[in-house]
């Protein structure tokens, strides 16, 4: 545990020194500013999509940036010959970035609707979206060598995650999106900003069961990509 805490300390220091935290703060301030000037019409939908994209993008983008910084500086090689386990490496980055996403999401929610949201559902939605996309980000970064290559593959990993919005905006009406974990996260985001009962209890139950399972699977996928991360 002592080593894991050291790793958390290192990762938090690195997001500060690499100015990732400043970028996250600027994005949050920008989103919060947009929410202040949004018209009433479709406000909840825009709020939901903004808060949904924040942890997803923070998770996927920033984990890639962090790992690529470590690869280009060869520090990843140095860590890989230390007693740090791949599990600790993956969870440390996931937790640090998720904490940032959680803070950013809560600030945006307060900026948008004050205290009129369900904090438990919102926190669960942000944490699960962030963890999911941090781990998928590890998988993505294991397949590239450079920042440019990483930016090119972002849509490949992002587009499937945004498909449930087709149901949300009434463009499609299919149960297929329920296989995509972001559908579960989206339900929690909607529940967080809606009147109680807007999202059916069975859907909330589905979200709270399906998200931990898919986060665990994405973590296993990230862990199986560990050697590729080292070698790519």
């Amino acid at each position: 545990m002592e080593r894991f805490i050291s790793l958390l300390h290192l990762d938090f220091t690195m997001i500060v020194r690499n100015r990732i935290l400043i970028v996250a703060a600027v994005i949050t301030a920008l989103y919060a500013g947009i929410l202040q000037v949004l018209p009433e019409n479709n406000f909840t939908e825009v709020l939901t999509i903004l808060i949904f994209t924040d942890p997803v993008m923070l998770g996927f983008m920033f984990v890639g940036v962090m790992v690529l910084f470590e690869k280009s500086g060869n520090t990843l090689q140095a860590i890989s010959v230390s007693p740090v386990r791949s599990t600790e490496y993956l969870w440390s980055k996931a937790l640090v970035l998720t904490l940032v996403a959680l803070a950013a999401g809560l600030i945006m929610a307060v900026a948008g609707v004050g205290s009129r949201f369900h904090a438990g559902h919102l926190a669960a939605a942000i944490v699960s979206s962030s963890l999911l996309f941090v781990f998928i980000g590890f998988v993505g970064v294991s397949r590239v060598k450079t920042f440019n290559q990483y930016f090119i593959i972002i849509p490949l990993f992002m587009i499937p995650g945004f498909l449930p919005f087709l149901n949300y905006f009434g463009i499609t009406d299919t149960w297929l999106w329920y296989f995509i974990p972001t559908q579960a996260a989206l339900l929690l985001f909607v529940a967080a900003f809606s009147e109680s009962g807007t999202v059916a209890t069975r859907e909330i139950v589905y979200a709270f069961i399906y998200l931990p399972i898919t986060i665990w699977l994405s973590y296993l996928w990230a862990r199986s990509s560990w050697n590729k991360i080292l070698e790519s």
């Binding site: 050291s6 790793l7 520090t75 140095a78 010959v81 230390s82 007693p83």
Partner: protein
């Protein structure tokens, strides 16, 4: 300490093995040099030994335990100094050392003392992005020592260093041996190998062609003769066979009556032996 038997490794997508059926032993407390040109298989062998490459054929045991069966705890016993600098550029030298030291079980190292050993104590609070390559290499070197490991791997440790700092590092390596540490050194610098190593293995094209001590190799491949230079004004050079030198009247007469400038035996250099044995140059 290290026993490698019929070790082979082929990189994915390659047809030719980078390391091809090599066997060697590294004894406790010795400096073992892996000497060869770039691309010979030195770094691949080291990567296998430090478990960065896993899919190898053959067997490697560390302290009689199969390398494959060792847990991540193995890294508490070993220290690795890579050929290229690998530090967090936005952290200071001391912060880099502190973070890495915190990952190990043994946290007793005096980090400022380590920095002082390689002349970096005054730069302790500077970010490593401001360091020259030589400074980064010195930091690389001491980072391998922060947890006082018993087995050390150094890849071209003096690469990019000026002679003064290279000397400092070589003296530290000798001190480590005196403390009973085992050191696996990969290099193409034959001067470092000749000075530091108790034994060297020559590796080319993934194969070991010879293993012996540098002294034995130089003697065995040298010519049994010496060159004597003498004279006060014009310097005269003469060669004498080592056999029956004590009864060589001409030699004895010269060293008795002439002003001697120098006497050199005709040992082969390690590079000479390498070229003669492998047919390749150490580049």
């Amino acid at each position: 300490m290290i026993q490698a038997t019929q070790l082979s490794y082929t990189y994915p997508g390659q047809n030719q093995a980078a390391v091809n059926n090599i066997s060697f032993t590294v004894n406790q407390g010795e400096i073992f040099g892996f000497l060869g040109p770039s691309g010979a298989g030195k770094s691949t062998t080291q990567k296998i030994l430090i478990r960065l490459l896993r899919g190898y054929q053959g067997n490697v045991s560390i302290d009689s335990k199969e390398l494959r069966s060792l847990s991540q705890d193995y890294y508490n016993q070993i220290g690795v100094g890579f050929e290229l600098p690998n530090h967090y550029p936005r952290l200071t030298a001391l912060e880099n050392l502190k973070f890495f030291a915190s990952f190990y079980r043994n946290k007793n190292a005096n980090l400022m003392q380590l920095l002082e050993k390689v002349g970096l104590h005054q730069e302790a609070d500077k970010p490593t992005s401001a360091f020259s390559k030589g400074m980064k290499m010195r930091l690389n070197f001491i980072r391998a020592l922060v947890h006082d490991p018993d087995l050390l791997f150094f890849d071209e440790p003096t690469s990019g260093l000026d002679p003064v700092n290279a000397r400092k590092l070589k003296n530290i390596i000798k001190d480590l041996r005196a403390q009973g540490k085992t050191i696996f050194l990969t290099t193409h610098n034959m001067h470092d190998a000749a000075e530091l190593c108790d034994r060297v293995a020559f590796i080319t094209q993934g194969k070991i062609s010879l293993t012996n001590s540098p002294d034995n190799l130089r003697r065995e491949h040298g010519t049994r003769k010496l060159t004597l230079e003498y004279g006060n004004g014009e310097i005269v050079s003469r060669e004498f066979p080592l056999d029956n030198l004590g009864e060589n009247a001409s030699f004895l007469n010269l060293i008795k009556n002439e002003y001697i400038q120098s006497i050199h035996s005709a040992d082969a250099s390690l590079e000479d032996v390498f070229i003669k044995t492998t047919g390749e140059r150490l580049v």
